[in-house]
């Protein structure tokens, strides 16, 4: 804590102040491993078009048997394939072209698993943060308002969140998706609906704790409007636990989106989705184990990244 003495010491700019706890992550090994995993997947998602050797939905099957071997070179007959612009001529065999390597094999319809996992990262890292972010946009103002004002607002909001939270999460998702149908927008909406009450509860607790601080009294005495007190006095001081919670929640939303895809309630085909890839491949676990297992590793490592990052952030935030 810096003492506020007169004359005021030069304050670091507001961004640096807000993200100071985030920068402290350097001190936690576990946190750095988590951060590395997260950065790894984010980079893959951003550079998916450049990294993926094949289009994710391209059917490269005519030259390869179903579930082509783990690490197989793709050669194909000239003039048979739509993906032939990817291919180079092979010297000495004018009937075939070389199209590259399936590093992780292909799935049953001859799509390259490596490329599908890379494009799947993009799906996950667009929808999970988007849904989590919107859930915070909904949960934070309600939580701040209820925790600060108490009274009837608090009773009403708390009851609503209790009702929603009393559903086992996946039961709620199954019901909501069953009701509104599976589409990208609906899945985001369902995640927001199911997560916002949990965020509300945490923010409310933090606001109830912070409302009795001196700086809040000072702002009240100055006659600041409600929104100023909520968003500029209470919220910035609640950011620590919220950042940790957001990382945990992101990991959990990735699991949720994957699980919905697995259960056939997720994003519509054919775009690659890790959960759906597991579902499609699981029946062939014995013969072509790489089809389901690589997406399993992908989703687990992404979730692990966010969970370790959250743990590291909690560790460094408790330190000071």
């Amino acid at each position: 804590m810096t003492e506020t003495t007169l004359p005021m010491p030069k304050q670091p700019n507001i961004l640096a102040r807000l993200f100071k706890p985030v920068l402290l992550i350097r001190e936690s090994l576990v946190g750095m491993i988590g951060l590395a995993l997260v950065v790894f997947w984010v980079l893959i998602a951003i550079f998916a078009p450049a990294l993926a050797p094949f289009p994710p939905n391209a059917n490269l099957m005519s030259t390869q048997p179903p579930g082509a071997e783990f690490i197989a070179s793709a050669t194909q007959m000239i003039g048979m394939q739509p993906a032939s612009e990817l291919c180079n001529a092979i010297e000495g065999d004018p009937t075939k072209v070389d199209c590259g390597t399936f590093w992780l094999g292909t799935d049953l319809t001859g799509r390259d698993i490596f490329s599908r996992i890379i494009w799947g990262a993009r799906q996950v890292l667009i929808f999970a943060p988007l849904a989590t972010f919107v859930a915070y946009i909904v949960g934070i103002p309600m939580g701040l308002w209820a925790g600060y004002s108490r009274g009837r607002i608090d009773t009403v909001f708390s009851f609503i969140s209790n009702v929603i939270l009393s559903f086992p999460v996946l039961v709620l998702y199954v019901l909501v998706i069953n009701l509104i149908g599976a589409s990208a927008f609906n899945i985001v909406a369902a995640v927001v609906f199911a997560s916002a009450p949990g965020i509300f509860r945490i923010v409310r607790g933090l606001a109830m704790d912070l409302r009795a601080r001196e700086y809040v009294f000072a702002a009240e005495t100055r006659g600041e409007p409600l929104a100023y007190i909520l968003f500029l006095e209470i919220l910035p001081n609640a950011r620590g636990p919220l950042i940790v919670d957001a990382m945990l929640r992101l990991g959990y939303v990735i699991i949720t989106i994957g699980t919905l895809g697995f259960l056939g309630l997720g994003l519509p085909p054919p775009d690659p989705d890790w959960g759906k890839m597991i579902a499609e491949g699981r029946t062939f676990l014995q013969v072509f184990p790489w089809i389901p297992l690589f997406p399993c590793l992908a989703i687990s490592s992404a979730v692990l990244g966010f969970n370790l990052l959250a743990d590291g952030l909690r560790e460094v935030s408790l330190r000071d």
């Binding site: 009702v163 056939g264 579902a279």
Partner: protein
């Protein structure tokens, strides 16, 4: 104390009533769609109207809701369109199967996570603590949809020691219960472990523990006699709340291993628009979740002398 229990049960009943109204509204607000789902998409308007008249769907919404709730309370859930029989005939055996699975999971999760949590929290920051903490983060990071294929691959296909489906085709067998239980335990124990650890670590910093150590009591005795009693109050709540998570995990696990439980039934019903089964399953799920939450709250007050005697 009694007042507290009464209030807790009252709010539980209130939540259940609101939840039942929500489920009813979500699935049965428009009688026409109920008729379509029951009679199938190729039924004629005339057939639907006859069905609606026969089954009282022409009555106003509140009246239908009250009747529906009344039927529900006496165990009359309607008839399943998919299984062509009373919902209760399908539901109760499924609920029983899930109870077996959940009991097996809890029987493992509770001792494992309490022991690991206490070991980790006993000496905060030690190597044991770090190892257990990181291990529990890793296992909770592997979702059921990923751990199920991975464990099945290892135990069914590489080692060949466990069956890959758990549908109990030839009657009940322990071997078929192992994989689903393992998947659920792996995903669930980490959270309880971390909560126990946090609670234990907090107790270890208190003055009475320091006093006990300083007056020369053996360390083991300090842990067992002094620390555990207080440290295990919080995990009790967490374990009870874990039932809510378990009900989610059960859907994936049962679906994966073709286990004939209630989670798989809910999913099957949802995918086939079998609305009376959806209603019954979700009501039971919420009832169990809310019930365990109430038990955990009441139990917490009962276990915690600071609240019990206030």
């Amino acid at each position: 104390m009694l007042l507290l229990i009464g209030r807790r049960l009252g709010s539980m009943i209130l939540v259940m009533i609101v939840v039942s109204a929500l489920i009813f509204l979500a699935l049965e607000a428009t009688p026409g769609s109920v008729a379509t789902k029951v009679l199938g998409p190729y039924s004629t308007d005339q057939q639907r109207e006859i069905w609606m008249a026969e089954n009282g769907y022409d009555d106003p919404l509140p009246e239908r809701y009250v009747r529906w709730l009344g039927d529900f309370l006496v165990g009359d859930f309607g008839e399943s369109t998919r299984f062509k029989t009373e919902v209760s005939n399908v539901l109760w055996p499924r609920v029983w199967n899930t109870t077996i699975l959940a009991a097996a999971t809890m029987a493992l999760v509770i001792p494992i996570s309490l022991i690991l949590g206490v070991l980790a929290g006993m000496r905060e920051g030690s190597r044991t603590d770090r190892t257990i903490s990181v291990a529990s983060i890793v296992t909770t990071s592997v979702p059921e949809i990923a751990s199920a294929p991975m464990l099945a691959f290892v135990f069914v296909f590489l080692l060949g020691i466990l069956p890959g489906t758990s549908s109990f085709q030839d009657g009940f067998s322990i071997a078929e219960l192992v994989l689903p239980t393992m998947v659920l335990v792996l995903y669930d124990f980490g959270y309880v472990t971390r909560m126990t650890r946090a609670s234990m670590a907090e107790v270890m910093t208190t003055h009475y523990i320091r006093t006990a150590v300083l007056k020369g009591l053996p360390y083991k005795r300090v842990i067992v006699k002094h620390a555990l009693r207080n440290a295990l109050i919080a995990p009790f709540t967490v374990v009870m709340l874990q039932v809510n998570w378990l009900l989610s995990g059960v859907i994936v696990t049962e679906y994966y291993f073709a286990y004939k439980g209630f989670g798989a039934l809910l999913l099957e019903a949802a995918l086939n628009k079998d609305i009376f089964v959806i209603e019954a399953c979700s009501m039971i799920a919420v009832f169990v979740a809310v019930g365990t939450q109430a038990v955990s709250d009441i139990g917490y007050t009962f276990l915690n002398p600071r609240i019990r005697f206030s």
